[in-house]
């Protein structure tokens, strides 16, 4: 067995569970596992016994508006997965938990109390030779009362919020070439572009992967502090905004800043560069330096 990482080093240690914890709790009726992947078919090839599938494209988005589900639809979705407001929901997935972090973030907007990520995601579970099954377990029959609202102000930022935030720290989690403006898309994701290349002025560049180890687990708190608090200059900031291209990689960084490092209020700007880089009258910066705060 590999040595278990001590989660108590993190600001909110309860937000993270180990593969071993999941192995021991996967049959616990108060725990629901949700697998959220980039690859839409990966769950079908094998998943943790009892885990339900969640696909952010088709499950969490409103089919018409470019937005998430409303509270009623969310409640229906959660109930369909066997989740009640008291359920401990554990997310995991491929690609170092990008999409798992994204799904967790969306659940956060609806105020679900107990949300956790499985450190290392699917990759670590599989690497440890743990069981994967193709049978889909029917979720328990439960009900989920609709939350009174989807809170879009505490952990989510819109473009107007970003404009009002200027002068406070911001993190751009895309690749260095997207940040500088040499490319308008992420390497490996051609055409997923914007009219202009560059970044939101004053945002620091910290590619999301810096937060992850080779095995997909999160780096230690000391390493994360060195990366974000020191190098990226977040210091003791109360408010931080993170963004990427469409908000999925920045959900990963949001999780790191909010839960592992314990910053007071971190918002994910899910409109991200696909919105900002295409929007009329919004300032951008190019090159490898953050650039000046507009209007300062």
């Amino acid at each position: 067995m590999t040595e278990e990482k001590d989660f108590s080093q993190y600001a909110h240690p309860d937000a993270l569970v180990s593969t071993e914890w999941v192995a021991q709790h996967k049959e616990d009726p108060s725990v629901v596992l949700l697998e959220s992947n980039e690859d839409v078919l990966l769950y079908e090839t094998g998943h943790i016994p009892g885990a339900q599938k969640i696909d952010w494209h088709t499950d969490l988005n409103d089919p018409v508006t470019r937005d998430f589900l409303g509270p009623e639809q969310f409640a229906e979705f959660a109930a369909a997965k066997g989740i009640t407001p008291d359920t401990t929901v554990v997310f995991y997935g491929d690609k170092s938990n990008w999409w798992a972090a994204y799904a967790l973030w969306v659940f956060t907007l609806f105020g679900h109390a107990d949300l956790r990520l499985m450190d290392g995601g699917r990759q670590k579970w599989a690497a440890e030779g743990r069981e994967l099954v193709t049978e889909v377990t029917a979720p328990a029959q439960v009900s989920y009362p609709a939350p009174s609202q989807r809170d879009d102000s505490t952990f989510r930022a819109f473009r107007e919020d970003v404009l009002a935030h200027f002068g406070k720290p911001m993190i751009d989690v895309r690749s260095p070439m997207e940040y500088s403006g040499e490319r308008t898309h992420m390497e490996g994701y051609e055409q997923e572009g914007a009219l202009r290349g560059g970044h939101i002025p004053s945002a620091a560049s910290v590619p999301w992967a810096k937060a992850a180890n080779e095995d997909g687990t999160f780096r230690s708190r000391a390493e994360l502090e060195e990366i974000y608090t020191e190098q990226a200059g977040l210091g003791k900031a109360e408010e931080v905004i993170a963004y990427c291209r469409i908000g999925e990689r920045s959900s990963h960084t949001w999780f790191v800043l909010q839960h592992l490092l314990g910053y007071g209020n971190v918002r994910n700007y899910d409109g991200s560069w696909t919105e900002w880089g295409n929007a009329v009258r919004l300032p951008i910066a190019t090159g490898d330096q953050p650039g000046e705060v507009p209007g300062a």
Binding site: D39, L41, T45, G188, E190
Partner: protein
């Protein structure tokens, strides 16, 4: 947009008029077209399982192959040409952890492998839409398939450009 091209084949000399699906690809398209979205995903998964193994000569040496960087997961392809017959054999390498990407590769393999150069070059760019996958699989994910097809065509054009002067001379 794509329908426009199809609507007026007669008035378009050259390649546009030839944009008819080769038979083996048309069969795959029909297979998908008949299914509900959910079943389409199941069929794609079946395809992903049927992607042929790479021949020995390419195993452990992906550097001889071309990486399709547009795919969300590592995917490599290479073509082997038979100039006498004017046909191309297509080989793909994709990770088991990327079944969607594997499925796309398997569709292209089933639909295009061994065809004549001009048949492959005439395959419409909107193949993924013709498969009816755009509801079951979002545009973000479908781009990988379009990119694979684009690279296959580019590879053939480059091969033709290289061999053309020799044939002419």
């Amino acid at each position: 947009m794509s329908q426009d091209q199809e609507a007026q084949p007669a008035s378009q000399p050259g390649d546009a008029g030839a944009r008819v699906l080769p038979e083996q690809l048309a069969e795959v398209v029909e297979e998908f077209a008949e299914l509900e979205d959910r079943q389409k995903l199941e069929l794609l998964l079946e395809f992903s399982r049927e992607l042929p193994e790479l021949p020995e000569r390419y195993r452990n040496s992906y550097d001889q192959m071309e990486e399709v960087v547009e795919c969300q997961s590592p995917l490599f392809l290479t073509l082997e040409y038979d100039d006498a017959a004017g046909t191309a054999a297509i080989f793909f390498a994709a990770a088991r952890e990327a079944p969607t990407t594997r499925g796309f590769a398997a569709i292209l393999h089933e639909g295009l492998d061994g065809l004549r150069y001009e048949e492959i070059l005439a395959v419409p760019e909107d193949l993924s839409e013709r498969l009816g996958l755009s509801k079951a699989i979002t545009p973000l994910r479908l781009r990988g398939m379009t990119a694979m097809l684009g690279r296959i065509k580019r590879n053939i054009r480059a091969h033709q450009a290289e061999s053309a002067p020799a044939q002419a001379g």
